[in-house]
Amino acid sequence: MTDSLLQVSNLSKHYGSVPALEDVTFTLGAGEVLGVVGRRGAGKSTLLHLLTGFQAPSSGQIYVDGKPVQFDSPRQAQRLGIQLVHQKPDLIGQMDVLHHIALGNEIGWLSRLGFPDWGEMAQRAQKVLADFDVPPDLLNKKISNLSDEQRQLVAVASILSRGERLVMLDDSFSALSYQRQQLLLERLKSLASQGVAVMISSDNLKHLFAVTDRILVLYEGRVIADRHTVDSTPREIVELIVGSAHSDQVTPIMWALESYHIAQQQAEELGRVQVALREDLAAQDSLNRQLVERLREQLVALDQLNVALQATHRRLMTEREQERKYLARELHDQVIQDLLSFNYRLEEAENRMTEPAFRDDLVAIRNGIRQVVGDLRDLCSDLRPPTIDSHGLAAAIRSHTQAWVEQTDSSLTLSIDSHLGRLPEAIELSIFRIVQEGLSNIKRHAKAKRVTLLLERTPTTSLLIRLSDDGQGLTQEPDLAALSAQKHYGLLSISERVALLGGVMRIDSPPGGGVILQIEIPTPYPSA
C-alpha cells in the first residue's frame, strides 16, 4: 500500500440512523485524477468532507501514505497536504483578497504566528491568480466588493497556493466562466503531472472525461463503480449515476445533462461573441465614418479641381475666341484691304495696258485676287461671324444658315425666338459655335433633306436649342461620357461647350432615322 497516497477502507457516515455514506473503499495514487459522481445526496460532499477532516467518519479507516490517520479538524488534513475547495466559497467580507488567499498559510518570521512577510505572499498569490488570467490588482480589493466568480477564484487560489499533495474540488466550477473552468482544468492537469493527486466532484461529465484517470460513482452512499475513464463512456456513467440501464430513463437524463452544460457553455460563448461583435461594430462604424469623411474631402477637392479646370477651359475658349476675333480683324482690315488695293492698282494697270495678252493675264490675276479675297472673307466670317458683334446671335445664325443652305442641298427651317435679345458675348459665341458645329456635322454625315433649327427661350429663362434632321441617323447610340472614344469629335466639342455653359444636352436618334440634338443652356437675362 506504499504506492498509494490515499487509501480509504469501509468508510461510513451516519447522521443518526440515516446513512450518508456506507463502506466506501478506494485508493488514490500520487499524480492520479479521480472524478467523483453521483446524484445529489449520493454522498459526494460527505465523502470529501470526511477525507479533509471537516466531518468525522462514523466508521472505517483512512490511510495516508499507508499510515492510518484520523482527522479531528481540517487543519490536520491540511498538514498532510490535503486541501478541499468548497462548493460555495465562504469568505470574510471585510478582508482584502491578499489577506484572504494567505489566511491560514501565512509566511513570516519568528514562528507561524509571528510577523507576516506580505511581499512574499503577494508574489505567490499573484502567480496563482495569473494562471487564471486575473490582473494582480485584484489582491487589493475587499472581498465584499467581489463578484461570485472572483470569490470562487479567491477560494481556489487560496487552496492552490499552498503546496498541496492532494487537492479536492467539491463542485467548484459552477461559478466560474467557461474560459476559467478550462484554465482550472489545465491547472489541475499540470498539478497531476507534478505528482499531486486530485479528486473532483462534479456533475459535468465533460470536465471529468477531460481530466480524470478514474471515475468513482456513488449511489445512495455506496460506491457502485470505480472505472478507468478511458474504458467507460459518459452514457455508462450516467446509467450508473441514475442506477438504471433502461434507455428510456437514461436517455432524457443524458440529454438533459449534455444540453445543460452545452447550453451553459454556449450562453457564455454567445455572451463573449456578443461583446466582441459590439466592439467590432463600433470599430467598423468608426472606420466607416472615417472613410465617408475622407471620401467627402476627396469629393470636395475634386469639385474644386473641376471648377478650376472649367474656369481654365473657359478662359482658354475665351482667349481662343479673342485670338480668332483678332485674326479675323487683322485679315479683314489689313490683308483684305491690301489685296483690294493691289487689285485696284492692277485694274489701273490693266486700263493702262494696251497689250491684250497682258490684259487677259491681268484680268485673270485680278479674278484670282478677288477669289482669294472671297475666300479670305469666308475664312474671316468663319473665324468670327461678322454679324455677331454688331447684330447679335440671331442675325449671325441667320446669315450662317443662309450660307450653309447654299453650300448643301438640304432645306433648313429656322425658327428663332423673337425675344431672344442680346446675351453676353461669351454665351452668344458659344451658342453660335454649337450651331455651327451641329450644322457642319449634319453637312458632313447626315445626308439630310430637311433640317430644323429652333432657338427659343423657355419659361425658366433657359435657352433651348433644338437641331433636328431627317438624315441617316446614328449608327450607334452616342454615349456622352465616351464621345471621344467613339470618334464623335463634333459632338464632343458641342458637349464640352454645353458643359462649360452649365447646360444639359440630349441626343436622340429615333428609329425612323434622323438625329435630334437638344441643348438647354441656363442664361442670364438678356442684357438689352
Binding site: I92, G104, M121, P136, N140, S144, S158
Partner: protein
C-alpha cells in the same frame, strides 16, 4: 469600489463640502474612532464650562490614574470581543488575582515581583481554564464566564480569609502605580514613544508598498501622526505640570501599544480577527480556531489580573469588594464606546483608552459637580447607548454605501 471610497483623489481640498465629505468618510471607514474623539471633546467642554477645575493638570492626572486599572481590564475584554465572545469574569478575576498577589506578599512574604508574576500567571491560567471549557466543550462563553464570575468572586473572599482586607506595604507593588517620574524622564519616554512610532509606521508603509498593497494616503498618515504626536506632547506637558508621568499610565499605554501591535501586525492578531469575523472560514483555512480562542481568553484574563494589580497598587489594599460592582460593566462599556463591535471581528485595542477616557471623564466630571452616584450611572448608560447607536448606524450606512 472600496478603494475609491476610501481614497478619493486628493486633488481639491478647499471648501467646507470637501471637509464634511472627508469627515464622513473617516467616520465610516477605518478612522471609526473620530466620533468618539469628538464626543470626548464635547464632554470636556461641557464639564469645563460647568466647573473650571475640570481641565486642570491636577484633575486630568487624577482622571488618567482613575482609568488605568479598568482600562487595562477593558483591553483584555476587547481581545475577547474581537473573537465574538465575551468574558464576564474579568472583574472577578482581577480581584482574585490582586488578592492572590496581596496574600502571597503580605501573609506569605513572597517578594513583590514574584507575587505579581504569580498573580499574572494565575490570571492566565484562569483564562485558559475557562477557554478550555468554552472551546473543547463548546459552551457559550457568556455562560462559562458568568459561572466564572461567581466562582472567582467566592474564591476572592476565600483567599482573603477572615480579615477581609489586606493592606499593601511592599514598595515594588506600590510603586507599580504610585511612581511619578520627574519631567525629564517624562519627556524622554515621550520622545522614545514618538521615535518608535515614526520608525514603525515608516517601516510598515514600506512593507505594504513592497507587497503592492493599498497604502493609506500619505496626507492622512501625516495628519494622523501629527494628531498623535501633539497628543503625546500635550499629555506629557500636562502630567509634568502636576506630579510628573505616573508609572500606571506607562503600563496602561504600553499594554495598549503592545496589544495593538499584536492584533494588527502579527499573524496571531489577524487570526483573532478572522475567527471573530467568521469562525467557519478560519477553520476551513486551516487555522486552529480552538487554540486561538484559548490563547485569547488566557491573555484577556492575564490583562484582567494586570488591571487588578494596578488597582490594588493604586488603592494600597485589596479587599472583598475588589473587582466587583461596576468594574466589569465599565470595562465592557468602555470597549463598546471606543468602537469595538459586540459581534466580533471589528475594533481596536485603542478603544480601551478612548472608551475609558469617556467614561472616566463623565464619572470624574460628575464627581466634581458633586452629583449623586445614581445620576452618574444613568448618564454613563445614556452615553453607552448613544455610542452604540452611532456605531451601528454608521456601520449600516457604510455597508449600504459599499454594496
Amino acid at each position: 469600489m472600496s478603494a475609491m471610497l476610501n481614497d478619493p483623489p486628493l486633488t481639491s481640498n478647499t471648501g467646507s463640502d470637501n471637509l464634511i465629505a472627508r469627515l464622513r468618510r473617516r467616520m465610516q471607514g477605518e478612522w471609526g474612532s473620530l466620533p468618539v474623539i469628538l464626543g470626548l471633546l464635547c464632554i470636556w467642554i461641557i464639564f469645563q464650562i460647568a466647573n473650571p477645575n475640570f481641565l486642570t493638570p491636577l484633575n486630568l492626572t487624577n482622571l488618567l490614574l482613575q482609568i488605568t486599572a479598568v482600562g487595562t481590564i477593558s483591553a483584555g475584554l476587547i481581545l475577547v470581543l474581537l473573537l465574538g465572545e465575551v468574558d464576564l469574569s474579568a472583574g472577578a478575576v482581577s480581584g482574585l488575582c490582586a488578592a492572590i498577589m496581596a496574600v502571597l506578599n503580605v501573609k506569605n512574604e513572597v517578594p513583590g515581583l514574584i507575587a505579581v508574576l504569580i498573580a499574572l500567571a494565575a490570571g492566565f491560567g484562569i483564562g485558559l481554564l475557562q477557554g478550555v471549557w468554552i472551546t473543547q466543550l463548546r459552551l457559550p462563553s457568556f455562560i462559562v464566564t458568568l459561572a466564572g464570575l461567581l466562582v472567582w468572586q467566592g474564591a476572592l473572599i476565600y483567599v482573603l480569609g477572615t480579615t477581609g482586607t489586606v493592606n499593601l506595604t511592599d514598595t515594588f507593588i506600590l510603586g507599580l502605580a504610585g511612581t511619578f517620574f520627574p519631567p525629564l524622564v517624562g519627556w524622554g519616554v515621550g520622545a522614545v514613544f514618538i521615535l518608535i512610532y515614526i520608525a514603525w509606521i515608516g517601516w510598515a508603509r514600506q512593507q505594504q508598498m513592497m507587497a503592492s498593497m493599498t497604502v493609506e494616503p500619505l496626507r492622512e498618515m501625516i495628519t494622523r501622526s501629527t494628531v498623535l504626536i501633539v497628543g503625546v506632547i500635550a499629555t506629557i506637558a500636562l502630567l509634568n505640570a502636576n506630579r510628573g508621568l505616573p508609572s500606571a499610565v506607562i503600563f496602561f499605554i504600553g499594554i495598549i501599544v503592545i496589544f495593538d501591535f499584536i492584533t494588527k501586525r502579527t499573524v496571531f492578531g489577524s487570526y483573532i480577527f478572522s475567527v471573530g469575523s467568521n469562525a467557519e472560514v478560519a477553520r476551513r483555512a486551516g487555522i486552529d480556531v480552538g487554540l486561538i480562542r484559548l490563547a485569547t481568553f488566557g491573555l484577556a484574563s492575564m490583562l484582567a489580573a494586570m488591571g487588578g494589580i494596578l488597582a490594588a497598587s493604586r488603592l494600597l489594599a485589596v479587599n472583598q469588594s475588589s473587582g466587583s460592582s461596576d468594574l466589569l460593566l465599565n470595562a465592557v462599556a468602555a470597549a463598546v464606546i471606543g468602537g469595538t463591535s459586540f459581534f466580533g471581528g471589528r475594533g481596536t485595542v485603542w478603544a480601551a483608552l478612548l472608551g475609558m477616557l469617556v467614561i472616566g471623564s463623565i464619572s470624574n466630571g460628575l464627581d466634581l459637580l458633586a452629583l449623586a452616584s445614581p445620576i452618574k450611572s444613568i448618564i454613563t448608560g445614556g452615553v453607552l447607548l448613544l455610542a452604540v447607536t452611532v456605531d451601528v448606524l454608521a456601520r449600516r450606512r457604510h455597508e449600504t454605501v459599499e454594496r
